[in-house]
């Protein structure tokens, strides 16, 4: 059974999610990737206020294609980007800004898994490259911040409706589907090497 959640996410909502559970989101979804992480942490260091509040938010690792329509914007394609690029900044980002969910693809490393457990955050995997399907759940664009970083790197604030399917791939209890797959892959490696005549 799929679960439907609304942002902002409470710590209780987040901690109740189990690994492998399917989730659909309503409410606000914000994009943020490499430059947003760098800038947000830099703002914090300088004591400057951020243009958005990440607390309890669904932060989407995504650089969308947007089309200008009149004064506003329309989502054209919005699949996830590779989350591992944010590995080095995410633990600090979670600690300081307390998002409720990070949406992306490919998973994240152990320090992020630990930060998610400590502060109550989950990683929701969405199918990479399936950008039209993802855009279907992002109904409208509320606004854009830091547009000067370029279209892919800006913060896009969007209204989501039944956004998904999203898979709880890292829960707030320290479990990761990617880590489980990685240990199986390690076992399978011997078979693959044998198939190629390698020791």
């Amino acid at each position: 059974m799929a679960k439907r959640l609304k942002t902002p996410l409470s710590e209780q909502d987040v901690r109740a999610l189990d690994l492998g559970e399917i989730v659909y989101l309503d409410g606000v979804v914000m994009t943020g990737r490499d430059e947003v992480h760098l800038h947000a942490l830099e703002y914090l260091e300088k004591g400057k206020a951020l243009p958005v509040d990440f607390k309890g938010s669904a932060l989407f690792h995504c650089g969308p294609i947007m089309r200008k329509v009149g004064e506003g914007w329309e989502v054209v394609a919005a699949g996830p980007t590779t989350s591992s690029r944010m590995n080095s900044l995410e633990p600090q980002f979670i600690e300081k800004f307390r998002p409720g969910a990070i949406i992306g693809k490919g998973g994240m490393s152990q320090p992020t898994i630990d930060a998610m457990k400590k502060h109550g955050c989950v990683y929701l995997a969405i199918t990479g490259g399936a950008a039209v399907l993802a855009a279907k759940g992002l109904k409208s664009v509320r606004g854009v911040e830091w547009y000067e970083l370029g279209m892919p790197e800006a913060i896009w604030v969007m209204d989501a409706e039944n956004f998904g399917p999203l898979t709880v791939a890292i829960d707030a209890k320290g479990n990761s589907m990617f880590a489980a797959v990685a240990s199986k892959v390690k076992e399978n490696e011997q078979k693959a090497r044998a198939r190629l005549g390698l020791k």
Binding site: G79, G106, G129, M151, P152, F178, V181, K191, A192
Partner: protein, 290 residues
């Protein structure tokens, strides 16, 4: 008489078709993979991919938000009088606005984004001259998630075929869940440090259901594919039978003291396309000629 405007319009149409629809061999491989998976998790990932392909095609929308950086392969006729390079640059600018493509091109150090995918050596064009009377333009719109996982190595000749196999396997293991698997691998063996990487990317232009003309290379392609699919990385790295849809290998003679090898990792959205501009200026798409 072919004009720059003909080239520009053909480039826009080529880019539009390439980012919206997958080549038939890649789509067929994804549908086969969906049938082959038995577990719920990989099946759901492949279902999302297949639904997305259909939605992109119905709405004439780019299937993935990462429409890559424009890399072209052009074959000119011997008597070409039109400035094809300028036509392509103008075409990229227009396509970025009209398709639309994501403005991905930035200065490598300042990270400044001009917003039109045009800049120093961008679009990048590989030139050839051929015996045909039309201008042929191919494009690969490859996302960065998979390109970032590509690797090359200067092996020693004593490492030989085993060394090559080991390097390909390690590249897939290192990439893991990151490049949007199921992937397609282009492998370039020999040449030099730059040539093996160029061959690895060009290998991706060949349909994945066509094996190399040299039976030994064809066997290497099949062996590598079987081995990689034993790893169980699966669609999106969440586990499953399909880690890679196809492996194409190309080779070139190299120095007796060298064994360069390059692996270009391509995501499931293996988008590339070709347009021919005939001497009367008309654009034709060989993928539709059958």
């Amino acid at each position: 008489m072919v004009t720059e405007t003909d080239i520009q319009n053909a480039t826009v149409e080529l880019l539009r078709r390439t980012v919206v629809r997958l080549p038939p061999d890649v789509e067929a491989a994804l549908r086969k993979a969906y049938e082959a998976e038995t577990d719920e998790v990989p099946k759901m990932q492949l279902k999302a991919i297949l639904d997305n392909i259909d939605m992109a095609s119905e709405g004439n929308t780019p299937m993935c938000q990462d429409t890559g950086v424009p890399i072209f392969y052009v074959t000119l006729p011997r008597d070409c009088a039109v400035d094809v390079g300028k036509g392509i640059v103008d075409g990229v600018r227009l396509a970025t606005k009209e398709v639309p493509l994501r403005p991905n091109g930035v200065h490598p150090l300042t990270r400044k984004n001009p917003g039109d995918n045009v800049g120093e050596r961008m679009p990048y064009i590989n030139w050839k001259v051929g015996d045909q009377d039309h201008i042929e333009i191919s494009v690969m719109t490859k996302g960065a998630g998979s390109e970032n996982m590509s690797q090359m190595a200067m092996l020693t000749p004593s490492q030989g075929l085993k060394g090559v196999k080991e390097f390909v396997l390690n590249t897939v293991l290192r990439a893991g869940s990151n490049p949007c698997p199921p992937t397609i691998l282009g492998v370039g063996i020999g040449g030099s440090s730059d040539i093996c990487m160029k061959l690895a990317k060009e290998a991706l232009l060949r349909p994945i259901d066509v094996r190399h003309r040299d039976p030994e290379i064809a066997a290497l392609e099949t062996d590598l594919l079987e081995a990689v699919n034993m790893l169980g990385i699966g669609p999106m790295g969440l586990g499953g039978r399909t880690t890679t849809l196809g492996i194409n290998v190309e080779y070139a003679y190299c120095h007796t003291a060298s064994l360069p090898v390059g692996v270009n990792v391509q995501c499931w959205a293996g988008r590339h396309g070709t347009v021919r501009i005939q001497p009367d200026g008309k654009a034709t798409f060989p993928s539709e000629e059958g």
